[in-house]
Structures are given as C-alpha cells and as structure tokens.
C-alpha cells in the first residue's frame, strides 16, 4: 500500500512543480471514476467492475499532451462450480481482482467551440494487483484464499469529451477499452482462512476450478464509461 501512496505523492509533486507563478499552467489534473463491462478469461461471468483514480496531464502543445493516470480497479468474477456427488460438497467460487495501476501515454486534443474539447489517449504501465477467492460450499462460506500481489501490465485506450466550464475547471466523460495482462505469472497463495479442502476429493477437481485459477490471475478486458473533473492549475 505504501507504494500506492508514494506513486500518488509523486504524481502530485510533479503536478505542483509545474505550476506557473501567474496565469494558467500547462498542468491539469483531476479525479474520475468509471464502470463498464469487464470480462476475465478465467471465468464465465464478471460484475461489479469499477475504477476510480486521478489523471494528470502536461500539455506540450495545443494538440498534444502527456498524460499519467493512477487508478484503482476492482472487479469480481465467478469460478466454475463443482460438485462431487454423494459427498455433500458443492463448491462455487468468486474471484476478486483489485489493483492499482500507473499508466502513462500521449494524448491528442482537439478544441471545439464554446469550451468543448475532444481527445484520445493511449496509455500503458504497471499494475500491482491482488487476487482473492471466496470458495463456498452449498452457498455457505467455506474458504477464502488470498494470493500474493502480482505485477501486471495495464493499458488503456480512451476517448474523452471535455467541457471547460471555466478557465480552470472541466467536466469530462470518457469511453474506451482497457486491459490487464498477467505476464503468465502464477499466483502464489499467501494464506487461506476457513476450512481446508478434504484431501480425498481434491484430485477430483476439474481443471477449470481451483487448479487452473491458482496458476494465473488471468487477463482482463473491459469496455469503460467514465466521468471526471479536471482542474488546470
């Protein structure tokens, strides 16, 4: 968590450093949130996808800027269910992926009339993600598995429509595609709480249940809709 704070502090320090003594700075930044439709290749269905974070922008030219985005992302997916006849076990699972990503990239801007502006951004950068799995047996909590944080790769393509309602404040809406790649790294179990799986049935687990899920956090793709504010310093 301290890395998140350090990254956040670094972003703010860079932004504040760029502030000019008079007039408007080339820096702009602001908070934004988003949601959309996410899909994780390990899992049949995903829900609860949401992001919130902050974006900073340094305008190198009227049409071109460099943008940095620090973003928290969360989503949940279902693991394939499994039941073992006659034993009374019927497992289902839910996988939560949460992480913080710092992505950087160029942004093209096109100013329209009356303070309107459109832009396109392509960003990429590292993401520190944490995977947690809640396993239920017949719907009741059975086991919670927490994995070590994984270094992931996040990238995003955003289209942005901004409305500068004053010299310093803009309201903006974004849409785009973002993805998280897992570098094919295996997940490393940090701890589990609850009941252990009975030894005599784990060999019966199908490959799409716990075994496969423990091997990789699995790539994520998402279609985003976002909304934010932007402040020119």
């Amino acid at each position: 968590m301290k890395y998140t704070f350090l990254l956040w502090a670094l972003l703010c320090a860079v932004l504040l450093r760029g502030q000019e003594n008079s007039g408007l700075s080339r820096f702009a930044f602001g908070p934004n949130i988003g949601t959309g439709d996410a899909f994780q290749s390990c899992c049949g269905d995903s829900w609860g996808y949401h992001t919130f974070g902050a974006t900073g922008e340094y305008r190198l030219a009227r049409f071109f800027s460099i943008e940095a985005d620090l973003r928290y992302t969360a989503l949940e997916s279902d693991l394939s269910g499994w039941s073992f006849g006659g034993t009374g076990y019927s497992f289902d699972g839910f996988q939560q992926l949460r992480g913080v990503a710092l992505t950087v990239g160029p942004r093209l801007n096109l100013r329209l009339r009356k303070g309107k502006e459109i832009g396109a951004t392509l960003r990429a950068g590292p993401m520190l993600g944490r995977t947690t799995q809640d396993i239920t047996n017949n719907g009741r909590p059975f086991q919670t598995r927490r994995y070590q944080p994984n270094l992931l790769l996040a990238y995003a393509l955003d289209l942005r429509w901004a409305w500068w309602i004053s010299d310093r404040i803009a309201v903006e809406w974004t849409t785009g595609y973002s993805a998280i790649d897992d570098f094919r790294q295996n997940l490393e179990l940090k701890l589990f709480t609850g009941s252990p799986f009975p030894a005599d049935i784990t060999s019966e687990f199908p490959s799409n249940f716990i075994k496969q899920i423990s091997e990789r956090p699995s790539p994520v793709g998402a279609i985003n809709l976002g909304m934010g504010l932007r402040f020119r310093l």
């Binding site: 602001g30 919130f52 928290y72 289902d92 839910f94 239920t136 309602i165 504010l229």
Partner: protein
C-alpha cells in the same frame, strides 16, 4: 486495500478542494445544475458490520427558494460491491419409479443503484460557504452480470422434479428503496463544492424467507462527493 485507496481518493478530493479554494465567494446563482463524483462507503452486512467502498457519479439541479433555503434534486449512480447474499432452493421427488432432484441457487455480490435524492438546503445567510441539507432518497437497483439468473440443475432417475428455472431473484430482492439523508455542503468556490452526507435506507432489500435469514440489507452509506456547477 479498497478502504486505503478510497482514503487516498478522498485525500485527493480534499487536495483539489484546497487548490480550488478562492478567497472570495461570489454571489451564487438562484438556480443551476452541475455534476458530482466521489465515493461512498456502504454497509453491506449489518450483522457483521462489513462495509464496502464504491464510486458515485451523477447530476444535480438546485433552485433557490429564499436567501436561506434551496431546493435540490439529484440523480446518482453508484456501485456497491461486497454483498454476500446466497439463496438456495432444492426439491426432491421420490416415487416408486425413481428419484428426481432439482436445485437452484442465487449469489448476489454487487448491486448498482440509481438514486434520486430530493432535498432542502439551509444556510445561515446568502453568502455563507456552508449549508446543511436533509431530504429523501428514492432509489432503484439492478444486478450486473449473471447474478440475477439462478444456477440451476436437475438429477433424475425417473420422475422430473419441479422446474426451478423460473425462479427470479426479484422474488427475494427488492428492486426499490426509500431512504433519508442528512449532510453538509461546503462551497470551495463559485463553481466547486464538497458534500458529505449520510443516507439511511428504510426498506430491507432482502426477503427473509427467500434468503433464509433475518438480517436487514439496507441501502445505507456515507458519501463524499465533489461537485462542479455548470
């Protein structure tokens, strides 16, 4: 991790607020509207007092009634993750020519709320930076992904057991809610303000005989939003 990052996000909002603060607040407009965004901390399990953090976004419109009173209507969208609601159903038929078993289950893990707060604001005088607010907050909710559909299976050696595929989560999960809210707003500048409020849901969202529990699931949360007026 979620709570920590939400704390940082709130800190960021405050930082923006401090940055945007201007020494003099101009005379506010008598009506107008704007956008809002921020975070909410919702209590998703009242029995274990478990909370979850999610984003909030929306629009608002206000109309000044007097120098002190302002009427405001808002539209909010928010995601509340972290629910752990399970409902299981089973039906077994035992007949001389065999056994039939039907099972269905629902898991609800997150909800999307659409809210329409209607409120009154009171401020000590027209130029005051802060105002108190209170009102009512009707809302509707929906499920994302496949949460609303039952996971359904049958096993039969003879008769076909009851068809449970027609079960609907809405039989046990209320689709609407009414709540009360109280809060405080602080004008950072002519166009920016911070709003902190507590929303108390009044209706239990889950039917006890569907989820087979007696706990209340309320749409209650603490919200921090930053607002920009058009």
């Amino acid at each position: 991790m979620t709570a920590k990052f939400a704390g940082l996000f709130a800190l960021l909002l405050c930082g923006i607020a401090a940055q945007a603060q201007t020494p003099d607040v101009q005379r506010p407009a008598s009506n107008g509207g704007g956008v809002l965004l921020g975070t909410s901390v919702s209590i998703v399990d009242h029995q274990d007092f478990r909370a979850a953090v999610g984003p909030v976004a929306g629009f608002y419109y206000f109309e000044e009634l007097t120098d002190q009173w302002t009427f405001q209507v808002e539209f909010h969208w928010k995601i509340v993750p972290g629910y752990r609601l399970y409902a299981g159903f089973a039906d077994t038929l035992v007949l001389p020519n065999g056994i039939g078993i039907s099972q269905a289950s629902f898991d609800v893990r997150s909800l999307v709320f659409w809210e329409l707060p209607v409120l009154l604001q009171w401020r000590p005088h027209r130029e005051a930076r802060h105002a108190w607010l209170a009102g009512v907050r009707p809302s509707v909710n929906r499920l994302t992904g496949g949460q609303g559909s039952p996971s359904w299976s049958t096993a039969s050696t003879g008769p076909v057991a009851t068809d449970l595929s027609g079960l609907n989560i809405r039989q046990g999960l209320r689709g609407y809610d009414v709540g009360l809210l109280v809060g405080w707003r602080y004008a950072l500048s002519e166009r920016l303000s911070l709003d902190v409020r507590y929303n108390q849901g009044l209706l239990d969202l889950t039917a006890d005989n569907f989820f087979k529990n007696k706990t209340n699931t309320l749409n209650s949360d603490l919200q921090l939003t930053l607002r920009a007026r058009f």
